[in-house]
Structure formats: structure tokens, C-alpha cells
């Protein structure tokens, strides 16, 4: 592994362990009083266990994502500067997720204590606290610890998903690897998370054995294992972190190759100038911009059409120049975010078909497509069908397809290739367009806005924005497509950093 790779892994591992431990601690602090209060209050037990069970049925990813609007709501209602991305939502969601096994274990452990033992503890004159610590808790320890171990393993696993809400974790490696089809990186992220979970489980298991048998030895060994794990991970991170103490410039990326490549391009550039840089990769599309607004990320790469609809909430279509002017003005006014550069290429939503099918059906433009659409199947990315662009296309062309299905972006080109779809949503800078036998259909009624690639800079980072202005107009679409293809092509695949180096040479940005 290279130096930056090791730094990324050790950083992700340290952050992963940190967020998991904090979430588990929070869950234990919440669960403990509930467990102790529940036996005497059946109504409390019903409510708490019911609620925890409902939470468990929500997929972990959805739970993490739901905390974003919830915290935004809290911020708007209270006026307090509550962060809605990164650490806080991850901590809350993971803690909530860990609650059920802790409550089950705790309540089950206490309920399993024989009545005669409780009675004897009172009868010999133990105080309430003595009964709690010396009888109830230590007798319940095996079941309680069983719950704690389950909660720990779940939390460490679910923490990989915290990447999607902007919290650094081992999920960074997994999501970036999935997108780039870099299976080595995916495996590294998964194996590290699994290893972490197994060591924590074993350590807690030893502590459990010690408490249950009232033997100090195994408990101390277990605590030692956990302490060594924490110290080792933190030490490794400390040792391999970038040397500079200055706060790094944080570049955020969404989950596709173009974003990884551009982030590497800018990072290499800034590092040459002596600035430390960190890349936060794999953010959800909407969350990436929100992170820039919140200042958790200094530089984001976004698209004018996306910001137009998602950040400004507009559905009208305007000429490119006018749209950019409004974006510059309104993003500044509403979010204090600066557009530092328009990179020079567009990554627009477009509809595409296989060349031979398009020719056979006589389809060149989307208005041609409307005629034959009822016999065709449409494959879209995961978000297209709920985006404003789809509504705009339907309005402008009256499009109706025989079937619609959502795919992960990397699989869409394959879907049209093997005939499981006739029409796909494509991105105009997609590397595959430079080779695949597909044609983009012209938006002849101008229903879709422009998608100029932009560098957006967080509030208060004006010097950085000026520095990045040199990218304005420097990356033509052909160069971007070719660079994307280097990272996406099935054979002789390059890393985003290598593709970025190629792009820098190609565009003279070295």
C-alpha cells in the first residue's frame, strides 16, 4: 500500500472505531436506566421495547439518512447551530440502532434471576444498591453482555454506512471501491470492519466470562484486549497521519468516478502548493452540497442543473449563462456558498439508445422517442424517477414507457448492452460514451437545464475560492470522458489518482 492509502485506511479505521465506541457508549447510557426501571413498570416496558423493535425494522441506511432532515428541523425550530451531517446524525442513528439488543439483553437478564434469589438478597438485609450491583447486575451479566456483544457487532457493521451522511468510516473504502469496481479496496474495507468486530466481540466475551464466574483474570485480559485495540488503532492513525498540523482543505465527492478523479486532480494541485488536503469520498448527492453549506467540506464538485433544482428548488429552464448568473447570486445569498469555477464540461442527464435500434426506429431526438416510447423499456439511475428532470421531460414530450426500472449507474450501460433496456438515462460526460455503441438523443424542446460542472466552495473560504478560479473553463468534455473511461473501463483500469494525473497532463493543468 502507498503512503496516502495507508493514511486513508488508518484514518478511516480510527474514525470507525471512534464513532462505533461513542454510539455504543451513548446507547448503554440510555439503555441502563430504562432496563432498571422497566421490570416494575409494564407500560414502560411495552412502549420502550415496541419502539426499539420498530427502529430495528428500519434499514440502518434509512435510519442514518432520516436523521439529516430531522436535525435540520431541530435546527430550524430551535435556532441552535445543530450540525445535521457527519458525526451527530451517525452517533444518534447508530446509538438508536444498538438500543434493542441492549434492552433485550438487559431486560432478559434481569427477568431470568430466580425469585428466590431476589427474596434471599432482601431477606439477608442487602440495601437496594447492594442488591442491584452484587446480585441483579452480576447475575444478569451473561445475558446483558450477550446483548452488548450483539450491539457492538451490529454497530461496527452499520457504521460503514455512516459514510453516506458524511462521517468518515471504513465505509469510505467500501463505497469508493464499489463505484470504481476496485474490489481490492472493497475487500480491504469489509475485512477491516469484520476484523474489528471480531476482536471487540472476543474482548467483551472475555469480560463477560470474568464477571459471570466472578474471576478477575479473564475480565482483565478482555479489558486489556479492548484497550490494546483502541490504543493500537489510535497509535497507527497518529503515526501515519499526514505530517502537517494545519487544518487540511477537505474535498468532498459524490459516488462516481468523475468526482473521485476531479478531487484527486485538485488535491494533487493543492498539495504541490504545500497545502494539506483530505478527501471525503462517497457522499450522497444532496448531502454533498449540504456539507459544503455546513462547512464540513471546503470544496465540492457539483452541477448547475442539480443545484438549480435541488438547492434553489426551481423547475424552469433558462439559457446556460443566465442560469449560471442566478446560481452565483442566489447560492451566495442563500447559503453563502461561492462558485469558484465552471470547469468547462457538462455532465447532463440525457436519454440514450443503442445506435442500431435508434437508426431502425428513426429516433434522433427525444420528440422522436415520444412516438415509440410506449413499446420501449427505460432504465434509469436510482434517483432519476423522483427528480424534477423526469417530470420536466414528461411534461415537455409526453413520454410514456412500457416499463421503467432503476439501476445502479455502473450497470445501466450493461442493461442497454444486453438488451434488458431499450432506453437509458446517461450522463453526457460518461466515459463509456466514448466507446459504447450508443447515441445521445437531443433535447430538442429544451426541457432539461444545463449541467455545467462547478467547483463550489464553503462559506468563508474566499482565498481558496480565488485559488481554484484557475480551473475555470480548463476541462473540455472530451478530456473528462476519456479520463472517466480510464477509471471505469473493464480492462486496464486506472486508479482515480492515475486518471487525474493523465487529465492534468492532457489539459495542461500540471
Amino acid at each position: 500500500m502507498s503512503g496516502p492509502e495507508i493514511a486513508a485506511l488508518s484514518g478511516a479505521l480510527a474514525a470507525h472505531l471512534g464513532i462505533s465506541a461513542a454510539a455504543l457508549l451513548l446507547a448503554v447510557l440510555v439503555a441502563t436506566p430504562l432496563v432498571l426501571l422497566m421490570p416494575a413498570r409494564p407500560w414502560l416496558r411495552r412502549w420502550v421495547m415496541g419502539l426499539a423493535s420498530v427502529v430495528q425494522t428500519v434499514p440502518a441506511l434509512a435510519l442514518l439518512a432520516l436523521f439529516f432532515p430531522l436535525l435540520v428541523l431541530v435546527r430550524n425550530l430551535t435556532g441552535l447551530p445543530v450540525p445535521s451531517l457527519g458525526l451527530l446524525p451517525s452517533l444518534l442513528a447508530l446509538a438508536l440502532y444498538a438500543l434493542l439488543p441492549l434492552l433485550r439483553g438487559g431486560a432478559g437478564g434481569l427477568a431470568a434471576i430466580p425469585d428466590g434469589v431476589r427474596e434471599a438478597a432482601r431477606a439477608i438485609g442487602m440495601t437496594a444498591w447492594q442488591r442491584l450491583f452484587h446480585v441483579e447486575l452480576s447475575l444478569a451479566a451473561p445475558v446483558v453482555f450477550g446483548g452488548l456483544r450483539t450491539a457492538a457487532v451490529w454497530t461496527i457493521g452499520a457504521a460503514t454506512l455512516a459514510t453516506m451522511v458524511g462521517q468518515e468510516s471504513l465505509g469510505d473504502l467500501i463505497f469508493a471501491g464499489l463505484q470504481l469496481q476496485d474490489w481490492r479496496q472493497v475487500l480491504l474495507g469489509c475485512a477491516t470492519a469484520a476484523g474489528l468486530a471480531m476482536i471487540v466481540d472476543a474482548g467483551l466475551g472475555l469480560v463477560e466470562t470474568g464477571i459471570a464466574r466472578r474471576r478477575r483474570g479473564p475480565a482483565l485480559v478482555g479489558l486489556l484486549v479492548l484497550a490494546l485495540l483502541g490504543a493500537g488503532v489510535m497509535g497507527w492513525w497518529w503515526h501515519s497521519r499526514p505530517v502537517s498540523r494545519a487544518r487540511p482543505v477537505v474535498i468532498g465527492t459524490k459516488t462516481f468516478s468523475e468526482q473521485y478523479i476531479l478531487a484527486e486532480l485538485i488535491a494533487a494541485d493543492l498539495r504541490r502548493g504545500g497545502q494539506p488536503v483530505a478527501i471525503r469520498s462517497g457522499l450522497g448527492s444532496g448531502i454533498a452540497f449540504q456539507s459544503v453549506v455546513a462547512g464540513g467540506i471546503d470544496v465540492g464538485i457539483d452541477y448547475s442543473g442539480t443545484l438549480w433544482t435541488q438547492a434553489l428548488g426551481r423547475s424552469d429552464v433558462m439559457p446556460r449563462a443566465a442560469m449560471l448568473a442566478i446560481l452565483r447570486r442566489d447560492l451566495k445569498a442563500r447559503y453563502r456558498v461561492t462558485i469558484a469555477a465552471r470547469l468547462g464540461f457538462e455532465n447532463a442527464y440525457a436519454l440514450a439508445m443503442k445506435r442500431d435500434a435508434a437508426e431502425r426506429l428513426g429516433v434522433k431526438r427525444i420528440s422522436d422517442l415520444a412516438r415509440v416510447a410506449p413499446q420501449l423499456r427505460l432504465a434509469t439511475d436510482l434517483e432519476f424517477q423522483s427528480r424534477a428532470e423526469w417530470a420536466a421531460l414528461q411534461r415537455a414530450y409526453g413520454l410514456r414507457f412500457a416499463a421503467m426500472r432503476a439501476y445502479t449507474p455502473v450497470l445501466m450501460m450493461a442493461a442497454v448492452g444486453d438488451g434488458s433496456a431499450d432506453v437509458i438515462t446517461a450522463y453526457s460526460s460518461d466515459g463509456a460514451l466514448s466507446t459504447a455503441d450508443v447515441v445521445l438523443l437531443a433535447d430538442d424542446r429544451g426541457a432539461l437545464p444545463a449541467y455545467d460542472a462547478l467547483l463550489v466552495v464553503a462559506p468563508g473560504r474566499d482565498a481558496l475560492a480565488r485559488q481554484l478560479a484557475r480551473y475555470d473553463g480548463r476541462i473540455p468534455v472530451a478530456a473528462m470522458r476519456a479520463a472517466n473511461w480510464r477509471a471505469d473501463r473493464p480492462d486496464n483500469k486506472q486508479s482515480p489518482a492515475a486518471a487525474a494525473r493523465w487529465l492534468a497532463r492532457e489539459t495542461g493543468l500540471e
Partner: protein, 269 residues
Amino acid sequence: MRAGNPPPLCHKDGVTQTPFLACRNVQLSLGGRPVLAGIDLAVPAGTLVALVGASGAGKTSLLRLINRLLDPDAGTIAIEGQDIASRDSVAVRRGIGHAVQGGGLFPHWTVADNITAVPWLLGWPRAQRQARALELMAMLELPTRLAMRFPHELSGGQASRVGLARALAASPRLLLLDEPFGALDPETRDALADRLLALHRAQGLTTLIVTHDLADALLRADLMLVLDQGQIVASGPPAAIVAHPHPAVQALLAAPLAQARAIAGLVPR
């Protein structure tokens, strides 16, 4: 017995004295159901009292009241003339040896730790606790090698002895035993009952024992109390109980007496 009657058995050796344990018109209901309806009782120091009666008659509840695990709805309980309601409940319990039904040994504590639970609560130093554990184990004929074992490693008889040892550990003057030999085979039960009787006499204890073993009660107790539906329907020395006309008493005695006669008939003369 009714409220206001003089408490029974206030006399010993013809001398009137303050009873060691006295209950006056003690009433208790649990969950709206009457459990004890006016218990009057006076137990002289050094007496071995057997509480007998059908299940649900209120025997266990009476022991729990005396150890302040419950508080009565009405009436008073006094030990050595002092009303227990006026004392701290934890202090009352530490001063009484109470072996609860089923033993209630702490499964995660060693035999030695179980035995010296009350001395530990009272803050005895470690060495003294260890010595006391060994002393009690010897007294109850428990092999020393069991000291570091856990309750699940013990036989039923051994567990009963440990329960008894735990009740005796801090040298209480009053012993409350709730079916201490309930789950034992007759031979072990008999041996242990003899051991208990010897300890009771040797240490001058006042002992209340709840038992379903009528033969044990009749043969060893100084005084028997028959409870029926929350009331004491008969009290007195075993010889008086055997002749008591109350139907509940006769019902209780019918089976063991018939068995004893039948067994006697089998024995060759």
C-alpha cells in the same frame, strides 16, 4: 384467637415474662386478598416453633412480616419488646437469620461467600469471615473442600446446609426457616432436622420453622401453630395439637396419623 385476648403462652416455668417475639392483631392483605386476619402470638425465648397448615394459609407471609420484607396493614410485631416498625428494615433483617423458601443461594457466589453474606454486609474483616465460614461448615458437617465451589455443584442436602449456615452466620438470636428441608429425601431431612435441633438448643436460639413435615413438627417442636385461611386455629405443644378438635387440624393430621398406624401394624412384634 381474637384481638384483645391475652397472647397465648406467655408463661414459662410458671413465670410470666416478656415474650421474645410478640405479634398483636397482625393483619395483611396482598393485592386486595386477605392473607392474615388478626394474628396474635407470643413466643418465649429459646422456643422452637413449628408453623404448619395447608398451602396458602399465610405461613410464609407471617415469616416475611417478622423479617420486615412486608409491612402489616394493621397490628404490631415486637422482638424483645421493641416494635420492629420503629427500626430500620435493613438493620432488622441483618439481625435475623432468615432462610427463604427454596434456599435462595446466590448462584454466582462461592459457598464460603454465600455463608458469610451477612457478616460481609456487616463489614466483618476478610479473615474473620473466612474463619466463620469454616466454623459453620464444620458445624453443619459440610466438607471444607466445598468452600470455593458454586451452588450448582452441590447436592440438595449440601445446599440446604449452606442455606442454614448462611442464616446462622452472624449469630442471630431469631431464626426464620421457610421449608428448609423441602426438597430432600426423608433420611437426609431427618438427619438435618436433628442437627438443627441440636444447634437451636446449644445456641439458645428462638426458631420459627415453616414445615409440611408433620412428623418433624410433632417430634421436635416445643410449640406448634396451625394456620388456616390466615388465622391461627390451634396453638400449643405437640401433644395438645394432636388432640385438638378443630377440623383443619384434624384434616392436617389425618394422613400422617393413618400412615403411622399402618406402618406400626406392619412391624412384627
